[in-house]
Symmetry: C2
Subunit: 213 residues, 2 copies
């Protein structure tokens, strides 16, 4: 049923933000919202919001706006949050452990099944009740468990090798925290979190602002 033209990445990256604000509104027991009000919250223009949403369907009603709960649910479905995802984390260092510890993802349906590391001092330890396993058993684990998402938290030297192993074992989605890019086949999706790029952007902006004075 893929009737629609492909939705642009610019739109897609705004969806989670809409979803987040709708969750917030729902918590405050607000039942309806107009694109104008949503514009004030998100900083996007009302026109853009209506355009974005209409990529996926007409969720609103003239003269009324949008029902918060309906729109939240619709966006959740669009984002694929209406199901559970099983994840594993490769690299049980600082970032790997921090992600395993973070409960927010669990609440949204992303469950961490296991951590993997090659450091014998870490293997066998538990983060919450998630075991750190020997990375040598990675393929075996994936073969025996449904793994939807592989999270790469290794140093950059191992990120490509880890990606290759995950892909070969059948993982179709990778969340990459290693500070370099990885190559994967076309049917595998990668989302990068390049923290240093984010930090460098901040330092650029800070420089610009201080020069203005």
């Amino acid at each position: 049923m893929g009737k629609s033209r492909r939705v642009s990445m610019a739109v897609i990256r705004r969806l989670p933000k809409y979803y987040r604000y709708l969750e917030e509104l729902l918590e405050k027991d607000i039942t309806r919202i107009s694109s104008k009000e949503l514009s004030r919250l998100t900083g996007f223009t009302a026109s853009q919001i209506r355009q974005d949403l209409n990529n996926f369907g007409g969720f609103g009603q003239q003269g009324y706006g949008y029902n918060v709960e309906e729109l939240r649910n619709a966006l959740g479905k669009i984002l694929g949050l209406d199901r559970k995802y099983y994840t594993i984390i490769v690299g049980a260092g600082n970032i790997g452990q921090a992600i395993a510890n973070y409960k927010g993802f669990q609440d949204e349906g992303f469950e961490v099944l296991a951590l993997f590391d090659k450091n014998p001092k870490l293997i066998g330890l538990k983060i919450r009740d998630i075991e750190i396993k020997d990375v040598d058993s990675l393929e075996e684990f994936i073969a025996e468990n449904e793994v939807d998402i592989g999270v790469i938290c290794t140093p950059k030297e191992y990120s490509q090798d880890t990606a290759d192993r995950l892909v070969k074992a059948g993982v179709k989605a990778i969340w990459n925290f290693a500070p370099n890019d990885i190559k994967v086949p076309e049917d595998v999706v990668v989302e990068n979190v390049h923290l240093s790029e984010s930090l460098f952007t901040l330092s650029y902006l800070l420089k610009c602002y201080s020069e203005q004075e």
Copy 2:
């Protein structure tokens, strides 16, 4: 000397990636590179790369390309990486500790002076040799130390209050890991790392790919 028209955010966000690949080339002792080769590495078009760089000056040479070291240094200067930054981290939970532990930032000139938390069990502990202090002493610390960047790693309930306090104390740049947006005055720059938005984008993309089959 602000001669140039303002550079678009799209360009700015590509600069750290150029910088990263140039560092990599330098490590491999490669001395020159053309926009065409850089295109192969980064995935951006050669035309775009030349356009991007020419926002800041003519770093290349016809028939030759770019000198890797020169361009790396030029980009480092543009990004503001030719100086040291003093940072503090507010919120010494999983993510706060992970960032404090990560040595990569230190190597690029970002030094963590202190962590702050309100949990008495954490106050007094050290991450590497960085002390976790009582968040009540935040203002005092900023008054007595040069703090360029404040990193917010608190739960979402405290992010706005933390931002307000940092801003009031004179901090001009905020790196925000809390899963919500914060409001700051115009002369303060904020860079968000919204991990759940990143994860939701991944789940959207995974859904799209699997539906195609």
